[in-house]
């Protein structure tokens, strides 16, 4: 006669005596297997593409205060602000001549700041009154949207970032410039060596530290209080993108031209904490999940991969036939979605967990999903489950390239081992993978 509050569910007495429930391991194993298969069945990570740009998308930015807004800047200088649930453009503007190199939203979430090849930094109000109706109107409205402010620099800018807890801006290009929002001249310019500085990024926890990557293969850390660069790391190949871990103040990950991603501890730069391999062409962009446990990377090989921070190989790979080289990726602020902007002029929206269910779940559904997840975790080492769990389909080109890379790396390894064998014992030292991609650390 007892009825649960939430519905017409009768209370059922359950006797947990193990004699009454035999074959527990066998049954749970089967359940785990089924859960793994179901996971595969429901793995539909692609949510949708936001199309509209007429050139490759170079930069994405999300708003620190909102989940539903995404901003994209393309190679033809167009800036678009997207309403993601509606999958349409809120407003757009011809922001720059040439590339939109950098897009960032101010911490208050009110202003968008862009920089470009045309030596300008522009500040836009995020909430524009113009609302798009159809395409003709859009073109007209594009002319109507005007920036709030505009700063002129001495050279083209390549990247821009905003400090998390104040209004300081930093731009890169010929040198790293530190800006105050209320001044037209940079507060300070950092330079160490003379080469193009491609990206610049503020540490999101220890907000006075920032880092830049340059074309001469180096990564430089700066301290804005002492107004000096503090350390330089030279890699074997150029770094395309860098992202700080939002939960671990001293860790950052770089997307490197040599297809790999490297996670570093800023206190110990002589060796990477982890090398993340799986891409077969240059990794172009990296962005951390706000939980700090994983990050997403986009690559020139037309795939988006999600890595766990502690693991060397990706846990997920996303690709579609139409997606071309991925230039920029972004995690959503609730860690549930991933955005990618690519050469095919589309912004794509993916789930970060490929088989996750969208929307609210009933408590019982939640519990069921948790149970399945735990079962999978428990039996993940079983060969059958492991096989299903690990299987991913990738395009043939990537599959072949991976194979080739494997052959090459194993050949190199073999060669090295033979050389070691035939040289004086102890004269050829073993190379640590984590150190082997670093050239030097400059003080």
């Amino acid at each position: 006669d007892y009825v649960r509050e939430c519905g017409q569910v009768q209370k059922v007495q359950h006797n947990p005596d193990p004699k009454l429930h035999p074959f527990e391991r066998a049954r749970e194993y089967t359940r785990a297997l089924n859960a793994t298969k179901l996971d595969k069945v429901f793995a539909k990570p692609f949510i949708g593409a936001l199309s509209g740009h007429i050139d490759s998308i170079w930069k994405l930015a999300n708003v620190p205060t909102r989940l539903s807004t995404l901003i994209s800047g393309s190679c033809d200088g167009e800036l678009r602000v997207w309403d993601i649930p509606q999958r349409r453009v809120t407003w757009k503007a011809q922001a720059h001549r040439g590339f939109v190199r950098g897009v960032v939203v101010e911490r208050s979430g009110k202003n968008v700041i862009t920089c470009g090849d045309d030596q300008t930094i522009k500040v836009w109000s995020l909430d524009q009154s113009t609302i798009m109706e159809d395409d003709d109107e859009q073109d007209e409205s594009k002319e109507n949207v005007k920036p709030l402010h505009e700063f002129l620099g001495k050279a083209g800018f390549l990247d821009i970032d905003c400090q998390w807890d104040s209004d300081l801006l930093v731009t890169s290009g010929m040198q790293v410039d530190l800006w105050d929002m209320n001044r037209s001249e940079p507060l300070h310019s950092f330079s160490w060596g003379a080469d193009t500085i491609n990206t610049v990024k503020f540490n999101r926890v220890e907000t006075n530290v920032l880092s830049s990557t340059a074309s001469d293969r180096n990564i430089v850390l700066y301290d804005i209080r002492s107004k000096t660069p503090i350390r330089k790391l030279v890699m074997k190949m150029c770094t395309n993108s860098l992202c700080w871990n939002p939960m671990e103040a001293f860790n950052f990950t770089i997307a490197c031209e040599d297809c790999n991603l490297y996670t570093f501890d800023m206190r110990k730069l002589q060796q990477a904490m982890n090398v993340h391999k799986d891409h077969v062409r240059a990794a172009m962009s990296v962005d951390y999940s706000p939980t700090g446990r994983e990050f997403v990377s986009g690559s020139y090989d037309q795939t988006v991969r999600i890595f766990r921070v502690s693991e060397g190989h990706s846990r997920e790979v996303y690709h579609t036939k139409r997606m071309q080289r991925v230039f920029c990726v972004k995690f959503s602020a609730d860690s549930k979605f991933v955005f990618s902007g690519s050469d095919d002029t589309n912004v794509r929206v993916w789930k970060s967990q490929s088989s996750a269910r969208l929307g609210t779940l009933l408590p019982r559904q939640k519990q069921q999903l948790r149970y399945r997840k735990q079962l999978k975790k428990k039996y993940v080492h079983m060969p059958e489950i492991r096989r299903i769990e690990r299987h991913r389909h990738v395009p043939k080109s990537i599959y072949k390239a991976t194979e080739l890379r494997h052959i090459m790396s194993s050949a190199a390894e073999r060669k090295e081992s033979r050389r070691r064998k035939h040289s004086k014992p102890g004269s050829r030292k073993f190379k640590v993978e984590r150190k082997s991609h670093i050239v030097q650390e400059d003080e």
Binding site: R25, E28, D334, Y371, K378
Partner: protein, 721 residues
């Protein structure tokens, strides 16, 4: 300044002299001296440069300075500090900056470590805010010195310290309960309500009951309880017991005074009618007679009880059965004559009928047994069975008779109904011995469980059953069965029966065998030997096959001539042979009657579900096995355990922006707490050491500020709410 330098020089020369004075400097001394010199020279190289700068800037004694400049280059190890180049300066600044920052970010180490090892992480992170508790008037600050007291008085006199005023909001927050408290309260109130309802219902039902008997029993119960209470009270507190007794007496007196006990509505009415109605008068008389009888009966029973008590005391040694017997009860209480007759008659007829029925049942069963026997000739065994049946019948009659007799005469135990049943069983076992395919077999041994089924063997049944019955008989004897003569039943031992039947059976078989074969064993053993040989061969072959073989990679014609008659040299063969490692003997190698095929030992399905190597995070096989041993499903474990087990490692809120970690999270870090703990520990250790050494412990100053203590946090969370 110069004097100091000269002193340094002297020192240097002194040390040099010292070393020179010694005839043969030992290597240890020499080393020490070298170190000394090195230290001094370093000091000198630093000191003058600083001093030079100082005096140069003030412009004092430049002449002396010039002299010094001339002297200085002569001193060993002195290098003048050249102004650093700009790149060098920058490099130093960078290095220092990096070191500082690296040191600074170390503060996050604790929380990062904590997060990486947390069982569960939930995002967004809790907002930590610092709140300052103002001076509260309730608590007088602890003042140790006079000065402190004076200061406090002054301050409070000047009204510098204001009592913290509680705003309405604060008050509401303070008084408001947390969710847990509310839940707890609701739970408690629910429990009380249900309990109250339950009791109320019970009381209602009790009060509604119309049965006078029930109420009488209740009253009796209550009175008994009160009496026992009173008794106890008498033992513990005689004074209070006396008071209570007095009160009771008063109540009794009051009742007596009302004469309520003598009055009866029915009697009063009859009294009125008796004047005219004769039947009423008769009824009244009958009533008074009954009353008298009752009074007499009461007296009698009291006497009898006393007598019985005596007798029971005597009997208690022999009589073990304490079972409550309704029959005995009825016999014990001799009712009023009229009533007694009726009840007695009823009882008599009931027991008569009961016994008759039992007898008939027994007869039927016996007849059935007889009918089911299919043997045409009446063998010896049947005769014995008939005899047995007869004897049992006799016994039964005796027992029933004695039952009847007993009811009339004695007031001690009457035979249990169970005894009859037991005898039945006994008879059944009998018949089971009679023929193995008898349907009665089923009841010989009760197969209650699956295990019994498995263990069930028809050969064993008979003796087991027999022994059981014997045991039962013995037990019955123990349980006092005065009428049935156990010794006589013992005579009917099943063993006799068994042996006769089994003997006959075997005799018949052996007879037929003997007729056909003279010596059946000879051939049999011949065949066995052959089979054994074959088996041994097969076993050896299998063992050989299981052993890994040496592999020879030598090819004829390589390095030597080859042809039809040319054999390869043993050297070459040996050189190119890969020797297989010896396999450890299998667990069945010592058993000569088994061929063990290792590969067939595990089913392929099981092989498919075995891991080939120990999975990554585990270091021992046992750990790995333990990790998958216990079930986690709600089918197998209790619900709460299940929920605990399936807790996700990462919890994120839907539609919530997860902000990067900020400085306030450091307050939550337990490292500070841990540091305090460690500090305490070390302090204690130090104390102990000091006590050992006899020193007095030094009073510690302000050591560490404990951030985010539980109290503070609770407060802050509440205030945030």
């Amino acid at each position: 300044m110069s004097s100091r330098d000269s002193i340094g020089m002297n020192n240097l020369s002194d040390s040099g002299n010292d070393s020179g004075v010694e005839d043969g400097p030992s290597p240890v001394n020499l080393q020490a001296d070298i170190q000394k010199i090195a230290k001094k020279s370093r000091h000198r190289s630093e000191r003058p440069s600083v001093r030079l700068a100082a005096t140069g800037s003030t412009g004092v004694d430049l002449g002396a300075l010039a002299v010094l400049r001339k002297e200085l280059p002569n001193v060993d190890g002195f290098v003048e500090a050249a102004p650093r180049s700009k790149p060098e300066q920058k490099r130093i600044a960078r290095k220092r900056g990096y070191e500082e920052i690296s040191e600074d970010v170390n503060k996050w180490q604790g929380i990062v470590h904590q997060q990486r090892n947390a069982r569960q992480l939930s995002f967004p992170l809790d907002k930590n805010s610092i709140s300052i508790i103002k001076q509260d008037n309730k608590f007088q600050p602890l003042m140790k010195t006079e000065l402190e007291k004076e200061m406090y008085e002054l301050l409070s006199g000047a009204e510098m310290i204001k009592p913290k005023e509680e705003s309405a909001e604060d008050k509401a927050v303070r008084e408001a309960m947390t969710l847990e408290e509310v839940l707890e309260r609701n739970k408690e109130s629910w429990r009380l309500r249900t309990l109250r309802n339950k009791l109320g219902k019970k009381a209602h039902i009790r009060n509604k009951t119309k049965s006078k008997k029930f109420h009488r029993i209740l009253k009796k119960d209550r009175l008994r309880k009160e009496a026992s209470n009173l008794e106890q009270l008498g033992k513990t507190e005689p004074g209070r017991a006396l008071d209570k007794l007095q009160k009771l007496d008063e109540i009794r007196i009051e009742e007596r005074m009302t004469l309520k006990h003598k009055k009866s509505k029915w009697a009063a009415n009859l009294q009125l009618r008796a004047k005219t109605d004769k039947t009423a008068l008769a009824a009244l008389q009958e009533n008074s007679r009954l009353h008298e009888e009752m009074v007499n009966k009461l007296k009698k029973t009291k006497e009898e009880e006393e007598a019985e008590d005596d007798s029971e005391e005597d009997d208690s040694d022999t009589d073990d059965s304490d079972e409550h017997d309704p029959e005995a009860d009825t016999q014990n209480s001799t009712p009023a004559p009229g009533v007694q007759d009726k009840s007695y008659k009823k009882m008599k007829t009931f027991w008569g009928e009961y016994n008759r029925q039992k007898e008939e049942e027994m007869k039927d069963q016996l007849e059935e047994i007889r009918r089911q026997r299919k043997q045409p000739k009446k063998g010896q065994d049947e005769q014995t069975i008939e005899e047995a049946n007869k004897m049992i019948k006799d016994k039964l009659k005796q027992s029933t008779k004695s039952n009847k007799g007993k009811k009339k005469t004695t007031c001690s135990n009457n035979p249990d109904v169970n005894d009859n049943v037991k005898i039945n069983e006994y008879e059944f076992t009998f018949s089971s011995m009679d023929k193995p395919d008898n349907p009665m077999n089923e009841s010989a041994v009760r197969l209650r469980t699956l295990d019994d089924m498995e263990n069930f063997k028809p050969d064993k049944v008979a003796p087991v059953a027999a022994s059981k019955t014997l045991k039962q008989v013995a037990n019955n004897k123990k349980k006092s069965l005065p009428e049935v003569d156990a010794s006589k039943i013992r005579v009917l031992e099943t063993k006799v029966l068994e042996s006769s039947v089994v003997k006959d059976f075997f005799n018949n078989d052996s007879d037929s065998d003997e007729a056909e074969n003279d010596d059946p064993n000879a051939d049999l053993f011949d065949e066995d030997d052959l089979a054994l040989d074959e088996f041994n061969k097969a076993r050896e072959a299998a063992e050989d096959a299981a052993q890994p073989k040496d592999v020879c990679h030598a090819l004829p014609g390589w390095g030597s001539w080859t042809g039809p008659d040319i054999k390869m040299s043993a050297k070459i063969i040996e050189r190119f042979t890969d020797k297989a490692p010896k396999k450890a003997p299998s667990k069945f190698s010592d058993k000569k009657n088994v061929i063990y095929n290792e590969e067939a030992d595990l089913h392929q399905n099981i092989r498919n579900r075995m891991v080939s190597e120990l999975p990554f995070p585990f270091l021992q096989v046992s750990d790995w096995e333990a990790s998958i041993r216990g079930p986690i499903g709600r089918t197998f474990v209790p619900e709460l355990v299940h929920r605990k087990l399936i807790e996700p490692a990462l919890v994120t809120e839907i539609g919530a922006v997860i902000k990067p970690m900020d400085q306030t999270q450091l307050l939550k870090d337990n490292r500070a707490k841990q540091a305090v703990k460690d500090n305490k520990k070390t302090k204690n250790q130090k104390k102990e050491e000091m006590e050992k050494s006899g020193e007095k412990p030094v009073r510690p100053g302000n050591q560490l500020i404990e951030f985010g203590s539980s109290k503070k946090r609770k407060f802050s969370r509440k205030s945030v709410n």
